[in-house]
Amino acid sequence: MFSDYTSAELLSIFAMQGFAGLILFSVFVLMALGLAIIFGQMGVINMAHGEFMILGAYVTYLISNLFATYLPSLFGIYFFIAMIISFVAAGALGALVEWSFIRFLYQRPLDTLLATWGLSLILQQVYRSVFGAREVGVTLPDWLMGSIPLTETIELPINGMFVMGLTLTIAVAVYLLMYKSRWGCQVRAVVQNRPMAAAVGINTARIDRITFALGCGIAGVAGSAFTMIGSTGPTAGQLYIVDTFLVVVFGGAASLLGTIASAFTISQAQSTMEFFLSGSMAKVLTLLTVVIILMIRPQGLFAMKVRK
């Protein structure tokens, strides 16, 4: 299948597909980071995670419309404000959800899966009722449009690079928060030994709520970033949820680094194959490979052997 192309063309193809893969990678990482915190640290299967992401996307859409109508002069920076509000909105909804039912289900992971699936159905219908069934997109500010020519055949879109930069920033922030801050230490303490953490004076219920809210908030930011590269519909979240779970599981549930590495592998494999095969077959092959690898190595790529 390579014979039709010259080597220079092949190089450009791989570079461009690689870049497309990097954007997919960014979306995966942003979604998976939130999920890795909630699933990896708390053991909760949040099937509504995609809907939290879509919430961020719709918030961004609303804010962009607000700015376009009332503050056109500041339109260039609306995205940063939208991102913060998306984080807060998704986080607040997350805290509400945790308080109203997740907290009763910590001992029953399969039941959280079903309950959050119900939540995702409700949220989808809410989006459909409020925003309509059609997909909506945001207008990008001028400085995010266009692309930088790298060579004659390779061009890098600016919005894509922006999203990647954003991903990097958020990933670093999450890493610092989880592994370098006192709060992150508390979260990990609660995960590893709940009664002991409670005994040394950690308010475990509060830690749970904030952790869940944080994971949802990051999903909101992911949705915000998502609007930069695609349009949003009520069911867009569901399209990504299974892929994202595979990313998290493939990376080894509790490892942030593993999550990022696995997001990178999966997205690169998929986007490179997409050029040569049809999109659906590329996805089938990618998912199938991941599933088969998981069957051979169920603990994921990055997991420690521990003494039980």
Partner: protein, 251 residues
């Protein structure tokens, strides 16, 4: 004396056993031999690797190196259920019973028949099963609780039930992890009697912290420390071993 004996005189020979978890050697080059009909007690400070040894013998943990031979069969390569079939029974540290089922059903499930899928589907509760269950229930002081849901039993009764579940398997080698932990004094006494009765004709490995209890039942004692054998022999000998005294009292 044991050095002169050939391997087949031992029920269990553990040689050069090592297991490492990400570089940490929980059991390190451990060797010991259990004779036919012997009651061996393993003692040692927390984290010495006692429970890990039982995990290795029964196949719950796979060894990194070394060999475990039970009646000439190499256990390290066998699956857990095959190890059980060859005659090794194991009791866990915390009572591990089926809380949703009755005492009767707990014992019935442990009865060594119908262990395949088809066998379980077409298993009949016949006279042989009933008699075995009744006999064991009598032994473990639970004959009037047969239809009680196991989750409702007291902690000590749960420990007995688990011992009963092992007995009904008729194992040649019985491994008990802290059988009297969490028991009242009266229950301890009854358990010691129980163990003395059921250990006749089989070999037993016991992990225990209660020294009085150990003295009551042990034929030989192995002291473990940091994954290795620190001392071995009769209780008397072990008690007076300066290395043991240092490990136990030095901290």
């Amino acid at each position: 004396m044991s050095d002169k004996n050939s391997v087949k005189d031992f029920v269990l020979s553990v040689e050069g056993l090592t297991v490492s978890f990400d570089g940490f050697k929980a059991v390190n080059d451990l060797s010991f031999y259990v004779e036919e009909g012997e009651i061996r007690v393993i003692i040692g400070p927390n984290g010495a690797g006692k429970t890990t040894v039982l995990d290795l013998i029964c196949g719950k943990t796979k060894s990194t190196e070394g060999s475990i031979k039970f009646r000439g069969k190499e256990l390290t390569k066998m699956t857990e259920h095959a190890i059980v079939h060859s005659g090794v029974g194991r009791k866990f540290q915390n009572p591990s019973i089926y809380e949703d089922l009755t005492v009767f059903e707990n014992l019935e499930l442990s009865f060594p028949r119908g262990r395949s899928v088809a066998g379980a589907l077409f298993f009949r509760r016949d006279k042989e099963v009933l008699e075995a269950v009744e006999e064991v229930a009598e032994t473990i002081f639970l004959h009037d609780q047969l239809h009680t849901t196991a989750g409702l039993l007291s902690h000590g009764q749960k420990q007995w039930l688990e011992i009963g579940m092992l007995l009904i398997q008729k194992p040649d080698l019985l491994m008990l992890d802290e059988p009297v932990a969490g028991m009242s004094v009266a229950e301890r006494k009854r358990t010691a009697e129980l163990l003395n009765r059921i250990t006749k004709g089989r070999s037993v490995i016991v992990i225990e912290h209660d020294m009085q209890f150990v003295e009551d039942i042990a034929h030989r004692v192995t002291v473990m420390h940091q994954g290795k054998t620190l001392s071995e022999g009769s209780m008397e000998r072990v008690k007076n071993d300066p290395k043991v005294i240092e490990v136990y009292l030095g901290h």
